[in-house]
């Protein structure tokens, strides 16, 4: 259903001779029809189908709750759309076109944020925070800050990286900006798991692991920040709040 304009005539996708004839006959009325929102001329029906599907998805509804910036709305929906386009060789040209338009409008940061969404990492992070009891207001502030300065929060691990050195680097970075997201793909996943163990054993950071396809990622939270996000606040009866224990 299309707002107050009634149902959209999907049958128009299979543009028939009758539709072509009626467009020729009604040529002079097309400007008025467009002004009155009675007609729209799309390109590939798949573009519209994918966009509408993503805008109606539960994942977008969840993420939108915590994102206040309108540009980020566009970038995040584009990231969800990239996920729909990946993997199918027939859609490769469209995927690259979308990445190109993201880059030309929002620069490298826009592409990076869309990729974090494409990989499901942002959704996992939001879900992780929400499960631990962070309030909507805390989540909005945290997600907004992190996406605005994404690359300061992301590290990519490679096969040859020394886990001990990498752990030290993450501990330093997380002391400045929490959370840190460490991403590893393919054979670098082994190195990532070694780093995860070292961080858990050698620091008091809160660590969570996620994965998608051949990629794994760690969320590393500074403990004081993690506690402030997941602290339920003062008890209404006046009892002091108990910080939750990091896993």
């Amino acid at each position: 259903v299309n707002g107050d304009r009634g149902p959209i005539r999907e049958a128009a996708y299979g543009v028939t001779k009758a539709i072509i004839d009626s467009l020729w006959e009604g040529l002079k009325q097309i400007p008025d029809k467009l002004n009155n929102r009675d007609i729209a001329f799309i390109g590939d029906p798949e573009t519209r189908r994918v966009v509408k599907e993503k805008r109606a998805s539960a994942e977008w509804a969840l993420l939108r709750k915590y994102i206040e910036d309108r540009d980020l709305w566009v970038i995040v929906q584009s990231g969800l759309t990239l996920r729909s386009l990946e993997g199918d060789p027939l859609l490769k040209r469209r995927l690259e076109h979308l990445r190109g338009t993201l880059h030309s409008r929002f620069g490298p940061l826009g592409v990076q944020i869309a990729e974090v969404v494409q990989r499901g990492i942002l959704t996992d992070l939001v879900t992780h925070y929400a499960k631990e009891g962070a309030t909507d207001q805390q989540l909005r502030a945290q997600i907004g800050t992190m996406l605005g300065d994404l690359m300061a929060h992301v590290e990519f691990i490679r096969t040859g990286d020394d886990p001990k050195e990498f752990c030290r680097k993450i501990a330093y970075k997380v002391s400045i900006r929490s959370p840190q997201i460490v991403m590893g793909r393919g054979r670098a996943v082994d190195a990532l798991n070694r780093v995860a163990r070292k961080i858990k054993e050698g620091t008091d950071c809160h660590v969570a692991i996620g994965s998608q396809d051949d990629q794994e990622y760690l969320f590393v939270f500074r403990t004081d920040q993690w506690r402030s996000l997941t602290d339920p606040g003062p008890d209404p009866a006046g009892r002091p709040s108990q910080p939750r224990k990091s896993r």
């Binding site: 128009a12 400007p31 929102r37 001329f41 390109g43 519209r48």
Partner: protein
């Protein structure tokens, strides 16, 4: 609202529609320009020059866009889910 895919609309009909809207084809036979002035039409959301073979004409005051997901998402954020 009637939604028509331009992918199956013949070129002569697309050109006739553009003429009604104050546009025509550039001399290169690819890009859309404003009638007379010759300015190439640029998609405000993607900054791409609009091409006859990859365009959308969307309601409002006849907005010409490049057919890509980012432009459509941006349009829907501006105008609502009208399509």
């Amino acid at each position: 609202m009637e939604v028509v895919s331009l992918k199956a609309v013949p070129k002569d009909l697309k050109l006739a529609m553009l003429k009604e809207l104050g546009y025509e084809l550039d001399r290169d036979g690819v890009h859309v320009v404003t009638t007379g002035g010759g300015e190439r039409v640029v998609d405000p959301y993607s900054s791409l020059e609009v091409r006859l073979d990859n365009m959308m004409i969307l309601p409002g005051s006849a907005i010409l866009l490049d057919d890509n997901e980012l432009s459509l998402i941006s349009y829907m954020e501006d105008k609502g889910d009208i399509l």
